[in-house]
Symmetry: C2
């Protein structure tokens, strides 16, 4: 830092002085706009480096009166959200957009997380697995565009979600093929996807004149373990159970194994997400895979289109991304059942 | 939104007009500064709500020429970092500071994450488990204060770390008490804490005239499993092994169990972190607990002190937070060993 700028951060004006050009030209160089020779650009960049100038994103956004920031609300304890986050960073890599992250957790609710993104003037907001209604979102964000990932939302919001219903139907096909007649869903009411999954589960079983059994658990190992304990204690164990996600499924498996049961001999268990843990413990989990990369890419692209105010009237407001059943080691013929 | 402000965001000036007061008075109300009656404050807040005014954090920071934002660089796939994040949000809850998050991952390196925090003009930066040297950090942040969590840093930076050395010595005490003479460390070279842990491990064993065995793994289940495979294939399994963290320890356990070994009968395994997974799979893990809350609180408080330019010359630049050995089910008397 030169003597002149000591005690304060160097500005574009300082760079201009150092390089012997006008401040407007410095701005052109830093915006990568046309109007400067490569030689001049090089001189300006060198001058900036010499005096320690750093482009001030905030000042730039404020001057442009147009935000280039995309806000993201994610859950700190959901591995699925961390993968989505990584994929979104990959998707915008090299583009001139910033991401502002706002976590939700047991100590910070989703409305707080969302309000924070609004106060940082994000130009578009991506919500992972929102539990908020369209009205609740609207009250907080006003006219800022919102893209919901893993949860359908009413107009005017965009959304992208896995085709959970398709995945659930494949799970039931698989379990019925194995001979199961007593199949339960360990759902996580209120969570993104819970309603769709329950609906698909109930209709798939009713189509086969079977009785759907739906239990309340949640999307954590603890929730799965709690349910398994209740079912074992009340001697109500089905022959197959579908966890709300992989974490819930592993909670069920862990409790059962510690209670002396054998998986899948005594109970077939299916997860949802195909997260990293699905092949990491005990036995490799049969699960429904979500396409994280496609979910993230759609969300990032749509957010950028909304920032640019591109007319999307001819485009779909929401899309379903295909899911896939991955059969591994936690599903088998039921103990007392017969392959049809 | 009224007709007047249609098409642009309402400003403090619009609020002033709506409430029939001066813009300066609106500013007083929003800064919670003295100089307005409760009645006036109420009127201003109502007017703001009516026209949809939201306090613009960025504009406020820019005007004050002093950042109230604390930047945090964290790893997307480390549960330990997510807990630290939650605890830091708890620590600053209700205070007038914002957190700006910048993730590092396999697709986004730590220097990129750090540069992004600088370009957002954070007034102080907290680094979780940094792998950067003091010089590398300095080149990116200039004179912005930095607080390192889980990794000691040279002056002028502040740091807070777990007393890993104490924890490692308690692990060796425990294993030697059980009769182990063949003890290995599965380290994660380059990771925060790796050097300290290796140093403590080597000195604890040398103090007892035992041969320290140090292997390179990493802080993931895959790294632990890879090492376990090598050791089993080369018939080199020690009687006890200390994983770099809980994830690494579970990778070792998982591979061994799938290979037909019994834990802890054939191999005692110790983790590090006491993370949520430590009591979730197979057997409950013997591990070294870190005090996440104290680590996070120190980092948050120190960042705020640095933002306020409080004189800290009489304070320690870095502190060690106590660790604790938690003995659970993955350590036992070695198969061929005798309790001394």
């Amino acid at each position: 830092m030169t003597g002149k700028t000591r005690g304060r951060r160097p500005t574009m004006r300082d760079v201009a002085e150092e390089a012997g050009v006008s401040p407007a030209l410095v701005s052109i160089v830093f915006r990568d706009a046309p109007g400067a020779s490569e030689q001049t650009r090089e001189r300006v960049r060198k001058a900036a480096k010499k005096i320690g100038y750093v482009l001030d994103e905030r000042a730039r956004l404020l001057r442009s009166h147009k935000s280039l920031d995309i806000g993201i609300s994610f859950h700190t304890s959901q591995p699925f959200h961390h993968h989505l986050l990584d994929e979104i960073y990959s998707a915008i890599n090299g583009l001139d957009y910033g991401l502002v992250l706002s976590p939700k957790s047991t100590v910070r609710d989703e409305k707080t997380a969302l309000s924070s993104l609004v106060s940082y003037r994000c130009g578009a907001i991506i919500l992972f697995g929102t539990r908020l209604s369209k009205e609740e979102i609207n009250e907080i964000v006003g006219d800022i565009p919102v893209i919901s990932v893993a949860q359908e939302l009413d107009a005017p919001y965009d959304w992208v979600s896995s085709d959970d219903s398709f995945g659930i139907h494949r799970v039931i096909d698989h379990l019925v093929d194995l001979g199961h007649e007593n199949i339960a869903l360990a759902n996580s009411p209120g969570d993104a996807g819970a309603t769709t999954r329950e609906h698909a589960f109930v209709s798939a079983l009713k189509d086969r004149d079977m009785t759907p059994i739906v239990y309340s658990a949640d999307g954590s190992e603890e929730g799965g373990a709690r349910l398994a304990k209740e079912l074992i204690n009340s001697d109500n164990l089905p022959t197959a159970i579908l966890g709300f996600n992989d974490r819930c499924a592993f909670g069920i498996i862990d409790y059962c194994i510690r209670a002396g049961l054998s998986i899948p001999r005594d109970l077939s268990v299916v997860g949802f997400d195909n997260s990293e843990v699905s092949q990491r413990f005990y036995v490799n989990l049969t699960t429904v895979a979500q396409d994280t990369k496609r979910l993230a890419r759609f969300a990032a692209e749509r957010a950028i289109q909304r920032l640019k105010s591109i007319n999307l009237e001819s485009q779909e407001r929401g899309i379903l991304v295909p899911t896939e059943l991955i059969v591994r080691e936690t599903t088998a013929v039921p103990r007392s059942g017969n392959r049809p």
